[in-house]
């Protein structure tokens, strides 16, 4: 089974990052690092959502 906790985590992490960047006490270095991480997460998630068509797999009757 290929659960995607990554995807859920990515959204949570993004929310965190945005919140931090909106705060006052972030150094420039840290801000840029957060920004970079955030931008990467956005594009990873975007890729996943724009992935190719839904696929169909049919389980064989004899497997049970």
């Amino acid at each position: 089974m290929s659960r995607e906790p990554d995807f859920e985590d990515a959204f949570e992490r993004l929310e965190e990052i945005v919140e931090e960047l909106e705060g006052r006490d972030v150094g420039l270095d840290e801000a840029l690092e957060l920004y970079e991480e955030g931008v990467e997460l956005v594009s990873t998630c975007r890729e996943r959502l724009e992935e190719a068509e839904e696929k169909l797999e049919v389980l064989g009757e004899d497997e049970g």
Binding site: A31, L49, E63
Partner: protein, 402 residues
């Protein structure tokens, strides 16, 4: 009534009093207060008020019946002349007509009686085992990547589910095919559930709409057990709005139709993409605001530096540096992450402390750092250390400031 002792009573009663008495007697009777009557419908009228009036009859007798609107709304079939039904209610008196009649609360088709009884029995049994308990319900995953489907591979349900998924969110559909009606359907559905369990993030089990008989597999114990034993969250989608099947009760979530089930199990990708866009612009504006804030503190440093005469000369340079910084800031925000690493390095080198250290120079005379006017005299050699080398000279004059 024969066994009631006769009471001699010369009083003359009104009609209403007699009727009340009859009514009272009927109300006292433990059977007539709540009775199930089987019979054939005749003289059926569905009045414009919404109430239903009809007779129930058998070979020898007729029983007048009324079923009020609020009760007949829940009927699962449309009564018609000659239909055999079981009506449940109380026998009472309709005073204005001097008639007694059955006030029907619930009515079902007699032909379905046996099935219905079995349904109720099973429901009660499984309920007793706690199979319908809320605490047992598993949460559906927010972002599944594999969606299991247990239904007929030729039915409309599969197409409906796939259509919705295709439109909404990219997933892998794992079909575990099973016949959903007819002899042996229940067993097939149960087996198919077992096969797909664990191979996906969430399972939809169901079929498109049909008559209650068509849906019957989903009222069978073997299906109920299979649903409850699934480790994977199960969404039932037995296409029938009115009837709740046992499978619906055991499933972690119930959808009225296969399409609705598909909508339940996946999020809407376009909405998520909009959310991502939102995050993206928050990131941009957040980093820009922070960079602006840091630029402003740089301005403050500059003003402090300008008040120091020794460092006055560096004011221009600082201006240039600041302009450079502005340019870099623009680039950072506009050219996005491929430029970020580089911009990050640049910005770091332009950070206030670095600038400050570049702005200061160390002046030495004969190897000692000059800290005060008093450290040197006219004619002493000066050795000015700057970032990229040394400048040599001598003291022409000294003057104490302030």
């Amino acid at each position: 009534m024969d066994d009631l002792p006769a009471i001699h009573d010369d009083r003359v009663y009104t009609v209403s009093e007699v009727t009340d008495r009859v009514s009272h007697l009927l109300g006292e009777d433990p059977v007539l207060r709540d009775v199930r009557v089987e019979g054939e419908i005749s003289n059926y009228t569905h009045h414009s008020s919404g109430h239903m009036y009809f007779n129930l009859k058998d070979d020898d007798s007729v029983l007048g019946c009324v079923m009020f609107r609020r009760d007949n709304k829940r009927l699962e079939f449309t009564p018609e002349e000659g239909a055999r039904v079981v009506a449940e209610g109380r026998v009472g008196v309709y005073a204005e007509r001097g008639e007694y009649q059955l006030y029907v609360d619930v009515m079902r088709e007699a032909g379905r009686g046996e099935l219905y009884e079995r349904f109720l029995e099973l429901k009660e049994k499984l309920d007793g085992e706690g199979l319908f308990d809320r605490e047992r319900k598993k949460e559906l995953p927010s972002y599944p990547s594999r969606v299991g489907v247990v239904t007929s591979d030729s039915g409309a349900a599969l197409q409906d589910i796939r259509d919705v998924l295709r439109r909404r969110y990219p997933v892998h559909v794992v079909l575990s095919p099973a016949r959903v009606q007819g002899e042996g359907a229940a067993e097939e559905v149960a087996e198919a559930l077992g096969r797909v369990d664990g191979l996906c993030d969430v399972v939809i089990v169901g079929r498109g709409g049909g008559s209650i008989e068509d849906l019957w597999a989903f009222n069978m114990e073997v299906v109920a057990r299979a649903v409850s034993e699934c480790e994977t969250p199960v969404v039932s989608a037995v296409g029938h709005e009115v009837d709740t099947t046992i499978a619906d009760l055991v499933a972690d979530r119930r959808a009225a139709t296969p399409s609705e089930a598909a909508e339940l199990v996946v999020p809407d990708a376009s909405q998520l993409l909009r959310r991502l866009d939102g995050y993206r612009s928050s990131l941009d504006s957040g980093v820009r605001r922070l960079v602006d804030a840091h630029t402003q503190s740089l301005d403050r440093f500059e003003r402090v530096l300008e008040r120091q005469p020794v460092i006055m000369d560096y004011g221009d340079r600082l201006d240039r540096l600041e302009e450079d910084l502005d340019v870099e800031v623009e680039r950072v925000v506009e050219r996005k992450q491929d430029r970020l690493r580089e911009a990050s390095g640049l910005l770091e080198s332009l950070s206030p402390l670095e600038v400050l250290s570049r702005g200061y120079s160390v002046v030495e005379s004969d190897g000692d750092v000059v800290r005060s006017v008093g450290d040197v005299e006219r004619g002493d050699p000066l050795d000015v250390r700057v970032r990229d080398g040394r400048i040599r000279g001598g003291v022409e004059d000294t003057e104490r400031s302030g």
